[in-house]
Symmetry: C2
């Protein structure tokens, strides 16, 4: 793994660790100010502050006991200072509106990162739930 | 709209037009060879050829009478020769496994495009279904 790949992978894991700690202020250190994020149901947030507020709300409620586990990260570089990082992750412990614990959910979370002078910042995210068995894999 | 924004938006519409014509060979002209694509159920294709084969299969079956309509496109540039394009689109006419026509589906389709000498090529895509009313918008 190259140094850049390792740095990007570290950032992916740092975001998951913020989630595990339910620390939505720490998340903002990883994000560019104009970051955008489309979540698993198509909600489209258009700034760091919108994402922070939405996740603060959710982590006080449906995600308050939830924990993600990253099972794979793939990194590639469409330009020298830009990285595409895709992570498969499993989210356990999320709550339904009635307070019951939901089954584990598997997602593919895409992140686009840009390198600044001293760090990789996340400039875009999009998340998609994995639905097993809905369509055969083409391979 | 800048010239670059207009060119990227044209490429987004060109992809939808390929879908409307069910011409999965034409799609490949828009893609980089190493393009990756995560679809709405988390299937993760890792080359132009994988995407072409998967969509050829689907357009001979569940998508053979389907038509997308793009309702909005937003373009931004994390670097001079890279563009993030997000489109909201509505897909009508897709078929269920029993042959019945499914309700219209709304998606947010993310595309990452890189500029070569004479065109913008799509280097990455991720699609997410919009689920209305599942979570209040945070704004």
């Amino acid at each position: 793994m190259t140094s850049a790949s390792a740095e990007v992978t570290d950032t992916v894991h740092a975001l998951a660790e913020c989630w595990n700690q339910h620390d939505m202020n720490a998340v903002t250190v990883l994000f560019a100010q104009d970051v955008e994020f489309v979540n698993v149901i198509g909600l489209w947030w258009k700034s760091c502050d919108e994402i922070r507020k939405a996740h603060w709300f959710a982590h006080a409620r449906i995600f308050k006991n939830s924990h993600p586990t990253i099972t794979a990260v793939a990194v590639r570089f469409p330009a020298a200072d830009l990285a595409i990082a895709r992570a498969r992750w499993v989210l356990e412990g999320a709550l339904a509106p009635d307070g019951s614990v939901l089954p584990a959910r598997m997602d593919v979370l895409l992140k686009l990162l840009a390198r600044s002078t001293d760090a990789w910042n996340i400039v875009d995210l999009q998340d998609t739930d994995i639905v097993e068995g809905a369509l055969s894999r083409p391979q």
